[in-house]
């Protein structure tokens, strides 16, 4: 399917030129035919004129013909005239006596009867112009065609810039379109019917997509929102039940399960809510935030967790490094990356945190992921046997997307490596 694609205008011009060429060839042939006919008539006229003179001479003095030059006519007396003697023509190349150049001559053979005697008359006349004219037709038509083709190509080149500009703008717009962006294609002006149709169609499509998307978002938002109050009640009731001393171990276990699952649900609701808020760009306090103090603060908060796993933390922090983003989002991003690093780190292993040259790198030793690493930022993607929601990294990814950051994941020599970097634009 990798057939070469051509521009519409190039295609139009190509076929236009092809048809023009065909038209020119046909008209050249017709023109030449007409010219031939015309020349033939002129020659025929002259032959008739000469025939008339020969007849006149033969009537006056039949013996005179020996004296007349052969270039004028050759006259022979014959016994009888063959049938169908309307006259026959043939073209030959002969040397012109005066110019010493080869020319094309036309010969007419005819018969006439004068005073009861039959004669065969052969006349030759130069017919060079006839052929020259045919060549001339091509000599004129071809340059005109080439000139026309050139003009069309130049016009195509110049006009496509103007005519197709709205089209290209619409394309660029479609290409850069991201869901959730209120950017309309309407300001693009065009007087071309097709482009206008395209624009309107895309605008309608965009509005429909936006509507569907916002409905879906609203649904998720309401869902996770409305869940919180009932969850609060269940959680409170479960807590009250456990607080009572008179539960038997079996009952306590069951209430504990209810309690824990409720917690999981409420976390899910909160995480989805957070994602929606990030998508809605509710975090707009964008400024330059230093990364080092934020990382240090988080490391201090999670000290108990790292100590429990006997993790050694090695950090190389560029104290001057800043990222231009919402501080709240940076907080969530660093927290989630650290949480992830600790969760998937081997017991007693090392955790590296490095910031330098606009990059932030989190690296921990741990077993290779048991899924395709391309999916690592997908929602609900988590390592086997992990009880987490699997939303932490997709939240990080979302944050990067709205903050002009690029995040990559790599697994090298037993290490999980996450790298956050500011994108060029």
């Amino acid at each position: 399917m990798s057939k070469r694609k051509f521009r519409l205008l190039s295609k139009v011009v190509f076929y236009y030129l092809l048809f023009t060429l065909l038209f020119f060839i046909i008209s050249a042939i017709v023109l030449q035919k007409e010219a031939n006919k015309h020349m033939h008539n002129i020659l025929e006229n002259r032959f008739e004129h000469r025939e008339h003179r020969i007849r006149h001479i033969l009537e006056e003095d039949p013996g005179k013909f020996t004296a007349i030059s052969s270039s004028f006519a050759e006259v022979k007396q014959v016994n009888r005239i063959p049938e169908n003697t309307t006259g026959s023509y043939s073209d030959t190349v002969m040397m012109n006596e005066y110019t010493q150049r080869e020319n094309i001559y036309r010969k007419k053979v005819t018969y006439m009867t004068v005073d009861g005697k039959h004669y065969k008359v052969e006349m030759t006349k130069e017919a060079d112009e006839l052929y020259k004219f045919r060549d001339d037709v091509f000599h004129i038509v071809l340059p005109i065609f080439l000139l026309l083709a050139l003009a069309i190509l130049v016009a195509n080149y110049l006009l496509s810039g103007i005519f197709f500009e709205p089209f290209r703008r619409i394309l660029r717009h479609m290409n850069s379109y991201k869901i959730g962006q209120p950017d309309s294609v309407n300001p693009i002006k065009t007087s071309t019917y097709e482009f206008d149709q395209l624009k309107k169609l895309f605008e309608r499509m965009r509005q429909r997509i936006e509507k569907d998307y916002s409905q879906l978002k609203e649904y998720t938002e309401n869902m996770s929102h409305e869940l919180q109050t009932p969850l609060s009640i269940i959680q409170n009731k479960a807590e009250s039940l456990i607080s009572h001393n008179n539960l038997n171990p079996q009952q306590a276990k069951q209430v504990k399960a209810i309690y824990e699952e409720t917690q999981q649900l409420s976390r899910l609701g909160r995480a989805l809510n957070l994602i929606t808020q990030i998508e809605n760009r509710e975090f707009q306090d964008i400024r330059e935030v230093k990364t080092a103090p934020a990382i240090e603060a988080h490391l201090e908060k999670i000290r108990e967790m790292t100590e429990m796993k006997d993790l050694e933390i090695r950090k190389e922090l560029d104290t001057a490094q800043t990222l231009t983003m919402d501080p709240g989002l940076m907080d969530i991003m660093i927290r989630n990356l650290l949480k992830n690093a600790i969760r998937y780190a081997d017991h007693g292993s090392t955790l590296w945190i490095m910031t330098a040259n606009g990059k932030m790198r989190f690296m921990n030793q741990g077993p290779e992921p048991d899924f395709d690493t391309e999916e690592i930022f997908d929602r609900f993607r988590k390592g086997r046997g992990q009880k987490t929601l699997g939303l932490g990294l997709s939240i990080v990814k979302k944050i990067c997307q709205v903050s002009g950051l690029n995040i990559t994941y790599d697994y090298q020599e037993g290490c999980h490596i996450f790298e956050v970097e500011e994108t060029a634009d």
């Binding site: 609060s232 807590e239 607080s243 927290r335």
Partner: protein, 227 residues
């Protein structure tokens, strides 16, 4: 202490109000914006717990109304929507704290106590429970005047336990109180046990028995009979 709880879900309102009544509060409930406004107009409250998502009005407007009627009233905002905007606006308008649903009652209790102590302690920054004394401004705890050498986390844990004395604290609520969002429910809570263990050891070294009881492996209870 007089408390007004504004929450449109009656079940949850009853739960929370009941909880505070057990704790010796006079707790009243309002289930709508209108009802809340009427109550505020007539009575004076020390504390107000306010759910922002009311069916007939924006809870944030109530903050302004209370601040005008009784500027002294402490306000804690509850919301299902973990939105930064309403959080900032709420605090700007004079709310004292903010809690997202769903929450642990123990957390709510600790927050309410800490707000009330800040506002109404009248200079006394001490909690005394029998032989245990907690100096809130110095962040120090002592038993029989013998200062316990506690780490910051141990001190926070003790305070949380004391605020919620004789009540079950689940491991989750402890973890969330001490480590906030750095903790997932799925995480291993063994380090909480370590903290509890250290706290117990330090208290018993100061000559007092076991205050902290383990409950069904779900959490802990700080048991103390006030004399």
């Amino acid at each position: 202490m007089k408390l007004l709880l504004i929450e449109d879900n009656k079940q949850l309102a009853d739960d929370i109000a009941g909880f505070f009544r057990e704790n010796g509060f006079v707790a009243e409930e309002a289930y709508s914006f209108q009802q809340a406004r009427e109550k505020i107009g007539v009575y004076e409250y020390d504390m107000m717990i306010l759910d922002l998502g009311l069916p007939d009005g924006n809870g944030l407007d109530l903050v302004a109304i209370i601040k005008e009627a009784h500027p002294e009233t402490a306000i804690l905002i509850l919301t299902a929507k973990d939105s930064l905007d309403s959080k900032v606006t709420g605090l700007e308008q004079g709310a004292d704290d903010y809690l997202t649903k769903p929450f642990h009652k123990a957390e709510l209790n600790a927050r309410v106590h800490s707000i009330l102590r800040r506002k109404f302690s009248g200079g006394s920054h001490q909690i005394s429970l029998n032989e245990l004394t907690i100096d809130l401004s110095a962040r120090k705890a002592s038993i029989h005047d013998q200062v316990l050498n506690l780490t910051r986390k141990e001190y926070d844990l003790l305070l949380f336990l004391v605020y919620n004395k004789n009540r079950l604290l689940t491991k989750e609520s402890i973890a969330e109180h001490l480590w906030g969002d750095h903790i997932d429910q799925a995480d291993n809570f063994d380090f909480i046990y370590n903290h509890i263990k250290n706290l117990r050891r330090k208290i018993s070294r100061a000559g007092k028995g076991n205050y902290i009881r383990s409950m069904y492996g779900v959490g802990y209870k700080f048991v103390i009979e006030e004399t």
